[in-house]
């Protein structure tokens, strides 16, 4: 067997002659690896942001969300992906049963309402209407800058709004007592939330742009039925979280005729990105990545096949002076690997470059982790091996006599 350095030398000699060709082939792999790297770096960034929030919660929060098992590629072309909400299996009586479980200190259902928030003079483009219970303040550490949070005593048609929404609606952060409209219904501002600057969080709600109303008011917009997208549960101190999660699961199954239609997340699981936009973008990037890896791989196979037929005589000669079939296979495989790994390195750096550029426009930074390095390496080596093997075997199968005879 040849040493790796020998293989490297032979492959270098071969690639030196066709630098441009090799470089162009490399780009295909590079684009694929770059997309993957960017996706992972950014999603890592999201997880990190949310993870920090989850850590702030002290590990005592459990989050219940409807199962997303039905999510498929078809959803990407669905004009209204948020319709998943209208079929949320979580109901008010789930909230009631869970609140009775041992170890549950507070519970807050989250119901996001469609429709915009407006005053007679302005309609902010970005706003979210959330109907929830007063316990959300405690569970999600929401602080008010002014006024008070919604509570069970205050009358209906009152709301707490985010700082930015207040500015967008009324042009000031001091808007206590002002009124705004939701679907023709008028609400009075009783509190302003402190600015959070957390557009990405495990509640999937940008509280700076949110209007928080009571669950009762929310239900009125929905024919008296609560459509709950998420239930946040805060456990009493020293509660075993996984055991609590299990009993929540059991309760939900009992309530839902043994249908497993929702998931309970605790600890770091809560931090997995759930934003649909994010998932959409990730899915698109993943498709781009796989296509470009495939194209890159085909490029490698192509350039290698060309190389093999160009070098037929050389292969014959190498065999004549003692190269075994195995040596020829590894020589050509090594050449393919050099292309794909260099492409991978290029793509990895490019991917981080893209991630940093993108992060200028979004509220979190990409993360670096060895896990991403591992993926980039695995993919580039994998593409090299998968698409380099066939040409390499073709090279090794060449009959030395024919090879030497045919080209001179």
């Amino acid at each position: 067997m040849l040493l790796l350095t020998d293989h490297y030398r032979v492959a270098r000699q071969a690639l030196d002659r066709s630098k441009t060709r090799a470089f162009l082939t490399m780009i295909g792999v590079a684009i694929g690896v770059a997309s993957i790297t960017a996706i992972l770096a950014l999603s890592g960034g999201v997880s990190k942001v949310i993870g920090r929030q989850v850590a702030d919660l002290g590990g005592s929060v459990a989050v219940i969300r409807p199962s997303t098992g039905r999510a498929s590629l078809a959803d990407l072309s669905n004009p209204s992906p948020s319709n998943a909400y209208s079929t949320s299996p979580l109901q008010e009586r789930d909230v009631t049963s869970i609140s009775e479980l041992l170890g549950v200190e507070a519970i807050a259902p989250l119901m996001t309402l469609s429709g915009s928030v407006r005053t007679n003079s302005s309609t902010p483009s970005e706003s979210t209407i959330v109907a929830t219970s007063p316990a959300l303040q405690q569970i999600s550490n929401l602080e008010t800058a002014d006024g008070q949070f919604i509570d069970s005593v205050t009358k209906q048609n009152t709301a707490v709004i985010g700082t930015q929404l207040s500015i967008d609606l009324f042009g000031t952060e001091q808007s206590i007592g002002q009124t705004f409209l939701v679907r023709g219904q008028s609400f009075t501002v009783i509190g302003i939330l402190k600015r959070l600057n957390q557009p990405i969080n495990y509640n999937n709600i940008d509280f700076d742009h949110a209007a928080i109303i009571s669950l009762e008011s929310g239900k009125l917009f929905n024919g008296g039925i609560a459509q709950i997208q998420q239930i946040n549960v805060k456990a009493a101190p020293n509660t075993n979280m996984s055991r609590l999660a299990d009993s929540i699961k059991l309760t939900l199954q009992n309530n839902h005729d043994n249908q497993k239609d929702s998931d309970v997340f605790i600890g770091r699981e809560i931090a997995q990105p759930t934003s649909e936009l994010f998932q959409f973008v990730s899915a698109v990037m993943a498709v781009i990545a796989s296509i470009s890896l495939l194209v890159g791989g085909i490029g490698i196979m192509n350039i290698m096949l060309v190389g093999v037929s160009e070098r037929t005589r050389e292969i014959g000669l190498r065999k004549a002076v003692g190269a075994s079939n195995g040596t020829i296979v590894s020589q050509f495989l090594f050449e393919a690997l050099i292309i794909s790994v260099l492409g991978g390195v290029l793509g990895f750096l490019g991917g981080y470059f893209i991630a940093f550029v993108v992060s200028l426009m979004i509220p979190y930074d990409p993360v670096f982790s060895w896990y991403i390095v591992g993926w980039a390496a695995t993919l580039s080596v994998g593409v090299g091996v998968v698409f380099g093997l066939y040409p390499a075997i073709r090279a090794a199968r060449k009959d030395p006599i024919e090879s030497l005879r045919r080209y001179h």
Partner: protein, 270 residues
Amino acid sequence: MAKPANKPVIKMTDLKKRFGVGDAEHYALDGVDLTVKKGEFIAIMGPSGCGKTTLLNIIGLLDRPTDGEYLLDGDNVEDLRSGQAAKIRAHRIGFIFQNFNLIERLNVLENVALPLTYSGVPHMKRIQRASDILKGFHLQEREYYMPWQLSGGQTQRVAIARALVNKPSIILADEPTGNLDSKSSHIIMEELSEIHKKGNTILMVTHNPNLTTYATRVITMLDGRIDTDTAEPKLHENKNEKRPLNKSAKQKSSKKGAKTTKSSRRKAKK
């Protein structure tokens, strides 16, 4: 590797090589019996297309015979796996091809060092040994030339240097003096006989009768068979006894006869 000196390096019995199938079927070698002892310098002559290159290829394990037996150092080559054959080529056999076959994008030094790559010599040592051998061929100033920058004679000498660099015990030279003038031819022949004097076995194909004087034994081939052999003058007669045909008749009838017997034998084998 210490085999008794009298034991033949190469022993072929009724060796046949067929190319093509069906109507295109053609025997390039049609029953070659050849025994070569260690240290012989054999010149092979014969008209173009009589199977000389094919014979060298089979001796050098580049090709396999269709039929017959070939013992290399007493081992039947039929039993060799392709990896073992490669190893033997790397360590024990040096080829000088009819058309030299230098790799165009490698320089002279790298071309000469090529066989050493496959016999496990480290890079630095390879370069060193290739450089040494090129010195012997007065090509040291041409080390970094590319093949296309060499004259025909220089190219031939580089090809010989490459064949010798791994100190093979058997050297197979296919018209090493191909299209050289007689002076250059004799220089190359002197070099080959130097190598022969060191105890190597050489089989050389040539069309130039003058060069056979360097050889210890001369074989002529005709239509895939050995026609005359200075070492075994009897052989020729024996063969003629077995096939008492004049030349033109022999070509036609033997081909037909051979075809039927061979195909029936193949069937029987299966």
